[in-house]
C-alpha cells in the first residue's frame, strides 16, 4: 500500500533518529530538559517544515510521509515526537491553511529554519469544550486588545509566535471565536511556569498569558469569527499526527518487549517461545499493524482531499488505546526490568503514551466525533 518513496523516506528518518535523537532520549526525560539542540538538524532534514510550501522555505511531504516521520521519531523518543507533531500540525498548519501571504512570509521561513510555532487553544476552563474560551479580543480603534490565559501549550517557552483563539464577541448566545497570531516579543505576552508532567518530560509544556496584547488586523488569522472552524480543521489534521505519535510509541514498546523476549532465556529457551509471552507479542504486533493502517488511510484521505474527520478521529482513538495497552504489556513482560529506568525504555514509553489518549481531544471526544458523524450519515440516507 505504501510507495517506494515512503519506504525510502522511512529509512532516511530512521538513520537520522538513530544518530541524532536516540542517544539522548533517556537523558532528556530524566533531566526534564527540552533538547533545543535538535531544532537545527531537524530543520535541515525538513522535519520542521513538513507542511510548508517550498516558496516559504519548506520541504513539503505528503501526509503519509509526515505520519511516518512522527512515527519513527516517537518510536525512539516520545518527547521529540510531540514537539514535532505540535509544531507542524498545530503551529505551522493554521498559518499555512488560513494565513495571508504577508503572514506566511513573516512566520513560515523562520519555522522552516528551526524556530518554533505554537497553538494556543486550551484554557483552564476550556479543554474539550473549546467553546468555553474566555480569552477576549476587544476592538479599540483599529487595534485588537487581547487578554486571557492558555494552558498546557506544547512548545510554549520556545515558540516565536502562537496562533491563539479569542472571543471577539461576548454575547453568550453567539460566542464568536477568532484566531490571532501573537508574537513572543509583543508587550503583554508572557510565558508561565513550565508544567511538571508524568511523561513526555523532554517536551516543553507551559501556560501563556496575554495582558493587553495589542495587535492590528495584520495579526488576525483568516476572517473574523472563523476561529472555531479553523480550530476544528486544524485538530482534524493534528489527530493524525498524535495517532502517528502513539503508533511510534506502541512500536517502541513492542521493540522493547520483543528484544527482551528473544534474548532472555529460561530453561534453555528464549522466553518468547512460551505461549503466555509469545501470544502477547502476537496480539501487540497485530493491533499495532491495524493502528498503522488506520493512520495511513486517514493520511491518504487527507492528501486526496476527501472528508477525513471521522477517519482521523478513529486513527487517533485506536492508535492511542493500542499503544497504551502495548506499553502496559511491555512492562508486564519485562517484569521488574520494565518498571525501572535502564536499558529498556518500557517505563518511559508507558508514561509518555498516556498523553496520546488525552491530547488533541480525549478518547471520549474522539468517540463523540465518530458517533456524531456515524449518526449524521444515517439521517441523510
Amino acid at each position: 500500500m505504501l510507495e517506494k518513496k515512503h519506504h525510502e523516506y522511512r529509512e532516511k528518518i530512521q538513520a537520522f533518529v538513530k544518530e541524532t535523537i536516540a542517544p539522548k532520549a533517556s537523558q532528556i526525560d530524566v533531566e526534564q530538559r527540552f533538547p533545543a539542540e535538535y531544532l537545527k538538524p531537524m530543520a535541515e532534514i525538513g522535519l520542521m517544515s513538513m507542511l510548508i510550501d517550498e516558496q516559504y522555505g519548506g520541504q513539503p511531504i505528503d501526509t503519509v510521509s509526515y505520519s511516518i516521520a512522527v512515527e519513527e521519531v516517537s518510536r525512539v523518543c516520545g518527547s521529540t515526537g510531540i514537539t514535532l507533531a505540535a509544531h507542524n500540525s498545530l503551529g505551522c498548519f493554521p498559518i499555512v491553511a488560513f494565513g495571508n501571504d504577508d503572514q506566511k512570509q513573516r512566520y513560515l521561513p523562520r519555522a522552516a529554519a528551526g524556530e518554533m510555532l505554537a497553538f494556543g487553544l486550551t484554557e483552564p476552563e476550556a479543554g474539550s469544550d473549546a467553546g468555553g474560551t474566555r480569552t477576549m479580543a476587544e476592538r479599540k480603534g483599529d487595534q485588537w486588545v487581547i487578554n486571557g490565559s492558555k494552558c498546557f501549550i506544547t512548545n510554549a517557552s520556545y515558540a516565536i509566535a502562537t496562533v491563539a483563539t479569542a472571543k471577539t464577541s461576548d454575547d453568550p448566545k453567539d460566542p464568536t471565536i477568532t484566531g490571532f497570531i501573537l508574537d513572543k516579543e509583543m508587550k503583554g505576552y508572557s510565558v508561565g511556569k513550565k508544567e511538571n508532567k508524568m511523561g513526555l518530560r523532554g517536551s516543553d509544556t507551559a501556560s501563556l498569558h496575554f495582558d493587553d496584547v495589542t495587535v492590528s488586523d495584520d495579526y488576525l488569522l483568516g476572517k473574523m469569527g472563523e476561529g472555531f472552524k479553523q480550530m476544528l480543521i486544524t485538530l482534524d489534521g493534528g489527530r493524525i499526527s498524535i495517532g502517528a505519535m502513539a503508533l511510534g510509541l506502541g512500536q517502541g514498546a513492542l521493540d522493547c518487549a520483543l528484544k527482551y523476549a528473544a534474548t532472555t532465556r529460561q530453561n534453555g529457551k528464549p522466553i518468547g517461545f512460551r505461549q503466555a509471552i509469545g501470544f502477547e507479542l502476537a496480539t501487540m504486533a497485530t493491533e499495532i499493524e491495524a493502528a498503522r493502517l488506520l493512520i495511513y488511510e486517514a493520511s491518504m484521505m487527507k492528501d486526496a482531499k476527501l472528508p477525513f474527520a471521522r477517519n482521523s478521529a478513529m486513527a487517533k482513538l485506536y492508535a492511542s488505546e493500542v499503544a497504551t495497552r502495548s506499553a502496559a504489556k511491555a512492562i508486564e513482560l519485562l517484569a521488574e526490568v520494565g518498571c525501572y529506568t535502564g536499558p529498556y525504555p518500557a517505563e518511559r514509553i508507558w508514561r509518555d503514551v498516556k498523553l496520546c489518549e488525552i491530547g488533541e481531544g480525549t478518547s471520549e471526544i474522539q468517540r463523540l466525533v465518530i458517533s456524531r458523524d456515524l449518526l449524521k450519515s444515517v439521517r441523510q440516507t
Partner: protein
C-alpha cells in the same frame, strides 16, 4: 461469608485514615519528588503500632489479624503508597518470617526492635537473574565452622537504604536446587555489606529501592533463620502474606484514585455542566466502583481464611491478581476523567497511575499468579 470488618477493626482503620490524611497525603508529592521517606515518619508509624501490626504481642507486636491489617494498609496506601510498601514488606514478609521461624534469641534480639520501627526490615531474595525463578538465585553462604560467609548481589531491595535488618536468601548447597537455599538475618552495618545507589523508578518513588551486595560477609551461626536448606519452603510459606499485602496496597491506591475522580467529575464543568452529568463519565465511575468492591471482597476473603489458618494459596493469588489489575484499570480511568490535568504532577491521580503499576509486578507478577492459580485448579 461475612467479610465485614469488626467494630474494633473499623476503629483501627479509621485511625489509620486519620494518620494517612494528616501525615502522609499532604506530603506524598514531596516524598515522590525526593524519592524517599523521612526517618521520623517511620518512628511515628512505629509508635502507632503499624510496624508490628501482626507480630506476636510477647515480642512487642500488636498481634492483630490479617483482616485488620488489610484495613490499615488500605488507608496508609491511600495516603502514600510508597510508604505503604515499606509498612507492607516490613510486616508481611520480614516480621512474619522472623516470628515464624526465628529462634527465641533471634526474636528477642531482632523482632523486638523491628516491631517498634527502630529496625526496618528489608527482604533480600530477588537477584539480577533470579526473579520469579527463585531456585536460580546465585548468592552463596558457605559454612566456615563458627560462621557463614555470604557473597552475592540482591536487586530491587525495598527499603534497602533505611533497613536495620536484612532477611537474606542464599544457597548453602549449589547442587540441591530448591532444597539448597537457606535464610539469614544480616545487619546492614556488618563488614562487606554494600548499599547500591537508589533505583530510579517509574512509581512508588517514596520507597527507597536499591541493590545490596554482600562481599565476604561474616554471619554468626545463630543468625541462620530456620533450618539449613529450608529457605525456599519458608519463603513459600509467607508468600500468602506478601500477596495479601500487595492486594490491600492496590485497593488503597484504587480507592484514592476513585475518590479523586468522583470529586473532580463534580467540580469540572464543560459544555455548561459538571462532566459528572455525562454518561461516558458516569458509566466509568460505576464500573470503577463495582470492580473495586469485587477486589475488596476477594482480598478480605483471603485474609479471613488466613486468619482462620485455612489453606488460602489460591485465594491469595486470586486476590493479588485481581486487585492489582483492577487498581491499574481504575488509575487509568481516573487519569482519563481528569483529562490534561491528570497528566500533571499537581494532581494526585498522576502519582496513583505510576504507583499502581508495581502492584502487578512485585511479589509475583500477574503471570506468576496465573501460574499458581491454574496449577492449583488443574492439579486439585
Amino acid at each position: 461469608m461475612d467479610f465485614r470488618l469488626s467494630e474494633d477493626d473499623l476503629e483501627l482503620k479509621q485511625m489509620a485514615r486519620e494518620f494517612a490524611e494528616k501525615r502522609l497525603y499532604p506530603r506524598a508529592e514531596e516524598f515522590d519528588e525526593h524519592e524517599t521517606t523521612p526517618r521520623e515518619l517511620i518512628d511515628e508509624a512505629g509508635e502507632l503500632g503499624y510496624l508490628g501490626f501482626t507480630a506476636p504481642e510477647e515480642y512487642g507486636g500488636m498481634g492483630l489479624s490479617a483482616v485488620a491489617f488489610g484495613g490499615v494498609l488500605e488507608e496508609i496506601c491511600g495516603g502514600c503508597a510508597g510508604f505503604g510498601i515499606l509498612v507492607s514488606v516490613h510486616n508481611s514478609l520480614c516480621c512474619e518470617i522472623v516470628a515464624k521461624f526465628g529462634s527465641e534469641e533471634l526474636k528477642q534480639k531482632y523482632l523486638t526492635r523491628m516491631v517498634t520501627g527502630e529496625w526496618v526490615g528489608s527482604y533480600c531474595i530477588t537477584e539480577p537473574d533470579a526473579g520469579t525463578d527463585v531456585a536460580s538465585l546465585k548468592a552463596t553462604a558457605v559454612d566456615k565452622g563458627d560462621h557463614f560467609l555470604l557473597n552475592g548481589t540482591k536487586s530491587f531491595v525495598t527499603s534497602g537504604g533505611l533497613a536495620g535488618v536484612l532477611i537474606v536468601f542464599a544457597k548453602t548447597d549449589s547442587e540441591a536446587g530448591h532444597h539448597g537455599i537457606s535464610c539469614f538475618i544480616v545487619e546492614p552495618g556488618w563488614d562487606g555489606v554494600m548499599l547500591g545507589k537508589p533505583e530510579k523508578k517509574c512509581g512508588m518513588k517514596a520507597s527507597d529501592t536499591r541493590e545490596i551486595s554482600l562481599a565476604d560477609v561474616k554471619v554468626p551461626k545463630e543468625n541462620l533463620l530456620g533450618e539449613i536448606g529450608a529457605g525456599f519452603k519458608m519463603a513459600v510459606s509467607i508468600l500468602n502474606s506478601g500477596r495479601l499485602g500487595v492486594s490491600f496496597q492496590a485497593i488503597g491506591i484504587a480507592q484514592a484514585a476513585l475518590d479523586e475522580a468522583v470529586k473532580y467529575s463534580k467540580e469540572r464543568h464543560q459544555f455548561g455542566q459538571p462532566i459528572a452529568n455525562f454518561q461516558a463519565i458516569r458509566f466509568k465511575i460505576a464500573d470503577m466502583a463495582t470492580r473495586l468492591d469485587a477486589s475488596r471482597l476477594l482480598a478480605y476473603r483471603a485474609a479471613h481464611l488466613k486468619d482462620l489458618g485455612e489453606p488460602c494459596h489460591r485465594e491469595c493469588s486470586m486476590a493479588k491478581l485481581f486487585c492489582s489489575q483492577t487498581a491499574n484499570y481504575i488509575v487509568n480511568e481516573a487519569v482519563q476523567i481528569h483529562g490534561g490535568y491528570g497528566y500533571m504532577k499537581e494532581y494526585a491521580v498522576e502519582r496513583y497511575f505510576r504507583d499502581a503499576r508495581l502492584t502487578e509486578i512485585y511479589e509475583g507478577t500477574t503471570e506468576a499468579q496465573r501460574m499458581v492459580i491454574a496449577k492449583d485448579i488443574l492439579e486439585d
